[in-house]
């Protein structure tokens, strides 16, 4: 901006000087030259001052993976994104396939066929249960302002929060299990029963009554399914708690690319002079 202005000033000055050379110097033109010179000097003075930065706050995050993982409090939009991201995951697909296969091997319910169609029924029922569980958890959680993440980040604004960093293995294990049924309110630092996970688990257990054959369509089985769904949350919570340790342990075990030969040690370096 300054350079442009200086260039214009210089151009006008040159034009004025050329004009003066042709017509001779008058008091008016002398005033004009003086004015240009003043402007020129003030422009160079301006150039020494850096343009002050126009500071602005960053935009609001919209469901990016970093913010969803690290923000102590999730917005409703982020909870919806989290819910959507849970619908089609490798663990959801492979979990449904794995437990569907076990049920098929045990041939329960006996009314359902074997083969591809049977596997489809088994897989479909478990996958649908998973979706219902996620949906129930999301809806109740959004209504009651509960955090859906298995291990929300530590919130420095809530120092007495449940998710304190334990170091002992059993304390961490217990804490991870407790987080399944005990969570905190987004809008305060208070902890309370995790109604969303309980509701999601119950919904998952009872939804299967819609399609299960009579031999399996009992209240006991519905509660069994609910317990199993809650167990899924517990497993997820424990895994999340110990994921870092597990990865670290695996990483340290991983030792490949070892050298086949070692070069001779270099001569010791002279001590550094201070």
């Amino acid at each position: 901006m300054y350079r442009t202005r200086t260039a214009i000033v210089q151009m006008l000055l040159r034009r004025e000087m050329a004009n003066n050379n042709r017509t001779g110097c008058s008091p008016w033109s002398g005033f004009i030259i003086g004015l240009w010179l003043f402007l020129l000097s003030s422009a160079s003075a301006l150039a020494q001052e850096p343009a002050p930065p126009v500071w602005s706050p960053p935009p609001k995050p919209h469901c990016d993976s970093f913010s969803m993982q690290h923000e102590p409090q999730m917005t409703l939009e982020e909870k919806a994104c989290y819910f959507a991201s849970q619908l089609f995951t490798p663990s959801a697909v492979f979990g449904a396939a794995f437990f569907g296969s076990i049920a098929m091997a045990e041939h329960t319910p006996a009314e359902w066929p074997q083969g591809a169609q049977g596997f489809g029924d088994q897989f479909g029922t478990r996958y649908t249960q998973g979706m219902v569980k996620s949906t129930g958890t999301f809806l109740v959680g959004a209504l009651l302002h509960e955090d859906p993440r298995p291990k929300p980040p530590y919130d420095s604004a809530c120092p007495d929060h449940l998710h304190v960093q334990h170091t002992e293995i059993w304390a961490r294990f217990g804490s991870s299990l407790l987080r399944v049924v005990w969570t905190h309110n987004d809008q305060s630092c208070s902890d309370r029963i995790a109604f969303s996970r309980l509701a999601g688990s119950l919904a998952s257990g009872f939804i299967q009554r819609v399609w299960l054959p009579p031999s399996q369509n009992t209240l006991g089985n519905a509660f069994l399914g609910s317990g199993s769904a809650l167990g899924g949350y517990a497993a997820e919570s424990v895994f999340t708690e110990f994921q870092g340790d597990l990865f670290g342990w695996l990483g340290k075990m991983f030792g490949t690319g070892k050298p086949k030969t070692l070069l001779a040690a270099p001569p010791p370096a002279a001590p550094a002079k201070n």
């Binding site: 706050p57 919209h62 990016d64 913010s67 990483g251 050298p259 086949k260």
Partner: protein, 456 residues
């Protein structure tokens, strides 16, 4: 049944089909005053510029580079204005993201980098911080995380990363940024740190190697020169060690030393670090390489090479930092209060009551290309690279050679050019607590890159 393979092929193709688009066409430069929300941001002030490349490695908008350079100069002026001639200049952090990211607002790395800039700004003690985010099409569907399906684009995105890094445009841009920050002869007092994460490490290494090679090629035996960048960090790099081998060989064969002028304090020309908990590069990366249909024909050497490796396979399947034969440094932990730093410790960052000394590790790699495993306290896994501890480590690494020996100014504490924060606010206290956590080092006025005389 015949439709299933077609469906799977369609899904894979869709995941590999990345729209070639820019996200910062209108505005690519920002000057943030991060809020002090008590949860996420910490009230820092920093500049952020985006420079975007397409999948052929060309710039989307060449004027983004000019805008970024203008931002750097503006922050250098800010340093001059507020810190005077004793100022350390601006600290410029150039970050290249990895797989499943791009320059859009939906990219986790964009937000992680913002958070890191805020973190760096509050601990920089008044030194202006500028971030340059290098974007490339590292994700399949913009604005939508396809989760599991995105994993099918591994090979495709790895190839694109190689193209973006090797096309030449990025190399030119990095050179412009480095010269724009440090001056034409790299003598300026501002600092520039280049960081590449995951496939971004691949991009960075591919792009920066020609610059390093060109600078080193111009050196005569016994000659010295200034370094290009103050620090080049490859964190959890997802690139085969095959990529690093030519540079490693060049450095080894030409006896390149990188140290302070006395030649006694070695310094990393490149620093490749992978988290001990990064199972992605330790397990998934070799798997992805195995599935690569462009695998080269491997050869087994008649005898192990100078690093003790006897086959191309090792270099192809493993990343540099995961290849034990190439590791030449290690972090050794000790209680902070009871013991002195280990001999030869380059930095000794503190985490809680534990200090981690970065010390040399005996082995075949004696080049200034430092390779190490990183404890999980700094980076817990592959993706979590913007944590506080890692940013502190970067600050420690940057401070290690004390390129400019100015001491922190206790009176201003770094709050003066950031608006709405008074002197003596918690931000300054944090900055000084951080400064105190780093053990004092002998001041060194400059560091130099030296090509040693060939050993007889």
């Amino acid at each position: 049944m015949k439709r299933i393979p077609i469906l799977v092929a369609g899904v894979v193709l869709c995941c590999s089909c990345v729209p070639n688009r820019s996200f910062r066409a209108q505005q690519s430069v920002y000057q943030y005053h991060f809020p002090d929300d008590g949860h996420f941001f910490k009230n820092g002030c920093a500049g952020l510029a985006f420079i975007e490349f397409d999948e052929k490695g060309n710039l989307f908008h060449p004027d983004q580079v000019d805008r970024a350079l203008t931002l750097i100069h503006q922050f250098q002026d800010l340093d001059q204005e507020f810190n005077g001639p004793d100022g350390q200049g601006a600290a410029v952090f150039v970050f290249i993201h990895g797989w499943k990211n791009n320059a859009s607002e939906e990219s986790g790395n964009v937000w992680g980098f913002r958070k890191a800039l805020d973190e760096l700004a509050v601990s920089a003690d008044g030194r202006p911080i500028v971030g340059i985010y290098i974007g490339w099409p590292g994700i399949g569907w913009p604005g939508f995380s396809s989760g599991f399906l995105e994993n099918f684009s591994f090979g495709n995105r790895e190839n694109v990363a190689g193209v973006v890094g090797g096309a030449g445009a990025l190399t030119n841009v990095l050179e412009k940024i480095l010269r724009g920050t440090k001056g034409a002869d790299y003598q300026g007092k501002s600092s520039c740190i280049l960081i590449g994460h995951s496939f971004g490490g691949l991009v960075m290494e591919t792009a920066v190697t020609p610059l390093l090679r060109a600078q080193l090629a111009g050196l005569e035996a016994g000659g010295q020169t200034k370094p290009l960048a103050d620090l080049i960090v490859l964190i959890n790099e997802a690139a085969p060690a095959l990529l690093a081998r030519p540079l490693l060989y060049y450095l080894a064969e030409n006896n390149i030393e990188y140290s302070d002028p006395t030649g006694k304090k070695p310094f990393p020309l490149l620093l490749s670090m992978t988290s001990e908990g990064d199972v992605d590069t330790k397990f998934a990366f070799p798997g992805g390489q195995f599935l690569d249909h462009n695998k080269p024909k491997f050869q087994t050497y008649p005898q192990p090479d100078r690093f003790g490796i006897d086959s191309d396979k090792t270099y192809f399947y493993l990343t540099t930092a995961n290849t034990i034969a190439l590791q030449n440094h290690q972090f050794v932990s000790r209680p902070a209060s009871t013991e002195k730093p280990a001999d030869g410790a380059f930095v000794s960052p503190l985490v809680g009551h534990t200090a981690y000394d970065l010390v040399p590790k005996p082995g075949n790699n004696r080049t200034p290309y430092w390779v190490t495993q990183l404890p999980q306290v700094f980076v817990p896994d592959h993706g979590t690279v913007f944590g506080t501890e890692f940013m502190r480590l970067l600050v420690d690494l940057l401070d290690a050679p004390k390129i400019v020996t100015k001491q922190p100014s206790p009176s201003r504490g770094g709050d003066y050019f950031c608006p709405a924060v008074a002197v003596g606010e918690p931000r300054a206290a944090r900055a000084h607590a951080l400064a105190k956590s780093t053990p004092p080092r002998a001041p060194v006025t400059e560091i130099k890159l030296k090509k040693a005389n060939p050993k007889p």
